[in-house]
Amino acid sequence: MGINNLGYRQWRLKPKNNSGQWRTIASFGIRVAWRSKWLQRIFIAAWIPVFVMGFILFIVEQSIQDIDSNDFPENIGRFAVSGFVYQRPEIRNLMELTQISKLANGVNDLFSNFLESDKEEVGNVPSIKGARQFMRSGIDFKIKDLQFISNMSEQQLQAALIFINNKNLNTLRQSIQLDRRGPPVPSYRLSMENMTYSQTVAKELIDYDLNDSEVIEFAELVDYLRPTLWSEVLFLFLGLPQAFSVIILIGMIAPKLISRDMKNRSFLLYYSRPISPSQYLLGKCAIVWAFLAGLTTMPALLLYIVGISLSPDISVLYVTWTLPIKIIIASMILCIPTTLFALMLSSLTRESRLASFGWFSIWILGQLGYELLTWMETEFRVNMNANDSVNTLSLSKSLFEAEARQAGNWSWLSPMKTLENLQSSVFGIDREVGNIDVSFLVVGIVCIACLAILRRRITSPIRV
């Protein structure tokens, strides 16, 4: 006989009249899911990248501190940070545009010297430095070059766009032909938006001349780009290791959540209590979100805190304070559509194995579909081009493939690419593949459709 065996006594405690029953469903669901040893292992393994990324942030910050050092090994930091800075599209654009500015100034000087022959100085037409040279010495911009860019008209920007695009394509052709090694070569076509953004960056940099030296030195440039560098690390974290963990984790948890309730007719037990279908759904979503928050939001926030803590300069907090908000929004973008989709699959069947199979199939088939259609597009472009120039066929194929990938006309087919696009947009690091509006539209439609199906499926037991 149990120690609590009191026979039957009436319970005089009054129940709370609130709407928090979803929390009860969530807490029990989390407890049940956490009993899986495999889930525990995956969860713990998913935290490993936090430390790797934290170390990268530490290296970045240390490098920024030693950016002007000429001593070894401190000057390695300049090389590392230059790599980060150099791969930013807006900086590369500025470098190209400043060369145009320098060229214009050089021509002016040349003509001036020619007219005023008594001057000793000879007109100087600059040569464009190579990428390796930039990475060794760092990058700097003269204020007058930046002013030249900020004063460029739309027509001038348009002309510069064509010039840079042609130049990039030529470089890419050479790189493919020569199996070139070294820093990345732009393998995409710039858009007018990129140019306008670069012009905005130029205007902002003019105000960033902290020591009034009329030059934006490399240290100042790095300081300006610091939030972007942090965003890149966090995007990399959320985009690569965590996205895979999220897919696996959701595949383990979500398919069981509704299908098992349907199989075991648990709906009768839930709905005979004072809860609504919305609370039931919210509770089920919260189970998945709790794990995903532990896998994405919390590690990313911890990473940010670790980065701040290890940073030798507290000013980093001032320039990166928006990142926690971006982390939360990016996590929501990753978690909400994926959770709704997985639960929708779960609600369609009584066999959770089928829902799991459907979940992983969608990711794999989506990626395969994207790859296949991109390949077909490349082949189409190559064939179209072959009619014009048969000789350049073998050379152009890689170029067309690179262009097709960057155009990203089929990226909406791949859930991974679509979510990456949205996260990139949130972090503002310009890594989108294809049209960002299409990504928003696809995710929006998927969310609404999943909600509608879920609503219908979970209310079916009480819709008689």
């Binding site: 609590n4 709370k16 199989k263 075991n264 008689v464």
Partner: protein, 314 residues
């Protein structure tokens, strides 16, 4: 119909259709508080009526009232908070232990976690569930699941307990224990109990009232006592000794008599029987009386009479 002033459930022209199928057909009835047996053949609409009262199925037409609440979406939460429901279906929440399932039920009703856990243990003790409460629900036998469903239904001390086939799947010993619990709840607490069952003996054993649902209508809501009373007043007598002379005297006084194979004498008279006369006739016949009780009709007979009456249009 002898129904108390304050009905537990009040139905006015309640109709429920599933497409063209008429599940509940213009029911108007008042069901009193107490222990009520809801009887009916398969497909009569019992489960539909229960689901409708819980807000799990919508009314097509009419009005229903339960525990002083109109059955409308606005009141569903209040109604469900005050009702405990034990479904007939084999339903459970996979992956959790028995005690957790009962705790979950209490928490979903709005009680805090710690109190819910304590209460879950209390009701599981009351239901005779031992250490198996710590096992996962999916490993339970049918009988254990029945007890668990019963425990989750009573965990929040509801005003009305609706039990759908509570004794199905139970062995005789457990069945008696379950009926004893229902009887205790109905008789010694403020709780009203509605039992939806095919096992008429259960109704006969524990119910105060019976409501019979036939072809989507409720033709009868009556006390079990009244239902079981024969139309012609009758007594069943067991005598100690030779009964021939006693039977002869009874016949002389205008009573109809019959004797069962086991010797039980049934006396019937449309004019009524005075019990003291039976004792006088026994004295005259010089036989002792072992027992004399008013004769009762079995619930099976009552049920069949009602069903056949409705189906034949009487």
């Amino acid at each position: 119909m002898s129904v108390p002033a304050e009905p537990l459930i009040s139905l006015q022209n309640v109709t429920k259709r599933y497409g063209k199928f008429l599940a509940l057909n213009d029911i108007t009835a008042e069901i009193p508080s107490g222990v009520i047996g809801l009887l009916g053949p398969n497909g009569a609409g019992k489960s539909t009526l229960i689901k409708m009262l819980l807000g799990l199925a919508t009314l097509t037409e009419g009005q229903a009232r339960i525990l002083d609440y109109n059955v409308t979406p606005k009141n569903y939460r209040l109604i469900r908070r005050n009702i405990g429901y034990m479904p007939e279906d084999d339903c459970f929440i996979e992956g959790i232990a028995g005690v957790e399932m009962v705790q979950l039920a209490a928490q979903l009703t709005g009680f805090p976690p710690l109190h819910s856990l304590q209460r879950a243990h209390e009701v599981l003790d009351f239901c005779g569930t031992g250490q198996e409460r710590y096992r996962q629900v999916e490993t339970y036998s049918t009988g254990m699941r029945q007890k668990l469903k019963f425990a989750q239904a009573i965990v929040h001390s509801p005003q009305l307990l609706i039990l759908d086939e509570p004794t199905s799947g139970l062995d005789p010993e457990e069945r008696l224990a379950m009926l004893k619990r229902i009887d205790l709840l109905g008789k010694r607490t403020d709780m009203s109990v509605m039992i939806c069952t095919h096992i008429l003996k259960d109704v006969q054993q524990v119910c105060d009232y019976a409501a019979v649902l036939v072809d989507g209508t409720i033709p009868v809501v009556e006390t079990v006592e009244n239902l079981r009373r024969p139309r012609t007043p009758s007594y069943q007598i067991v005598l100690a000794g030779n009964s021939d002379q006693f039977i002869a005297i009874a016949k002389l006084n205008g009573l109809t008599t019959s004797v069962s194979p086991v010797g039980v004498i049934t006396l019937q008279s449309s004019d009524g029987i005075d019990e003291t006369m039976i004792w006088q006739w026994a004295q005259s016949a010089n036989v002792g009386i072992q027992s004399v009780v008013p004769a009762k009709v079995s619930m099976e007979d009552v049920f069949l009479q009602i069903v056949q009456g409705v189906q034949s249009g009487n």
